[in-house]
Symmetry: C2
Subunit: 179 residues, 2 copies
């Protein structure tokens, strides 16, 4: 308390809000390893991985159809700017990663717009960046969507992108998890 008036001004922290949806989220444990509505602080210089293998991935999905490592997110600073951004890279050989209308194959990467849809398999994520100042950390905060984000955003007319060698499709389908 005594240091309160003389301490450095507290920095704001860039936050990536991730609103997430999976058509089977009610009956299957796909998101059981995620904390919702909670800012999770991450180091600015780390690559944050998402996928099935919790030994490698900071944010695991409990789903046999997800790749061990599905994608990676990294934080960076734009040139000649105080503004930060995020880059996403597809680390799955089996599934395409769709960022708005861009299809990323294995090892393709792209800088994320401040607000965008990211989809793979039956997973839908709406990512939104909230500006901050810290160059040491950023936050990720997950929220669970109650219904399909694609339906809500009238994005159903987007060209579906399927991969013949994979059971993943861009849109929710009635597939048996065990088939």
């Amino acid at each position: 308390m005594s240091d309160f008036e003389t301490e450095d001004t507290e920095e704001t922290v860039t936050c990536l809000r991730i609103i997430i949806y999976h058509p089977k989220q009610e009956e299957s444990p796909v998101f059981h390893a995620l904390k919702f509505c909670h800012n999770q602080q991450l180091r600015a210089d780390d690559v944050v991985k998402f996928g099935r293998d919790s030994n490698i991935c900071r944010f695991p999905f409990i789903d046999a159809r997800v790749s061990r490592v599905q994608f990676g997110l990294q934080f960076f600073r734009h040139f000649n700017s105080s503004e930060f951004g995020f880059e996403i890279k597809n680390l799955s050989k089996k599934a395409k990663l769709i960022v708005d209308n861009i299809e990323l194959g294995y090892l393709n990467k792209v800088s994320l717009p401040d607000k965008c849809m990211v989809c793979f398999g039956e997973y839908q994520m709406l990512l939104q960046k909230q500006e901050g100042q810290s160059e040491d950390y950023f936050n990720i905060c997950f929220e669970l969507a109650r219904k399909s984000l694609l339906q809500e955003k009238n994005l159903f007319l987007k060209k579906p992108v399927c991969e013949s060698s994979s059971s993943y499709t861009q849109f929710p389908t009635e597939m048996d998890e065990n088939e």
Copy 2:
């Protein structure tokens, strides 16, 4: 031997040749943790870090003036192409990273041209990509330069970029390691 004729055709592996120079490399151990003239295989989905801290960095420099993590290299695939590339990101708050004529601050990143000079502090590196097909691995191969690469390449006229808060300069200077 019996499988030789029926095995899959061996893939070529993308290789990043790094010819490296430090003005005190003869009398100080800066490069003692590096293996020279030896292909070192790295996973395509990892970020390879260079810096002082060997717990974090795959390629450590033994030099108190180097940041714990100086920079990171990642492998990626160009869009709609079978070609791979490398991206470099400055992970040091103290030193600028110079890629040809581009100055990278902390958390700035850039895709590397197929052949380029990368400098930080008194370190000079000539990076050259050799194309390969593997999407699982890439190689890094270090070579030691006997004299300054900047002198050799007539790059001395490039604008020097100094950081007032740091003892790093872009060009070799006669500084005492212990000062």
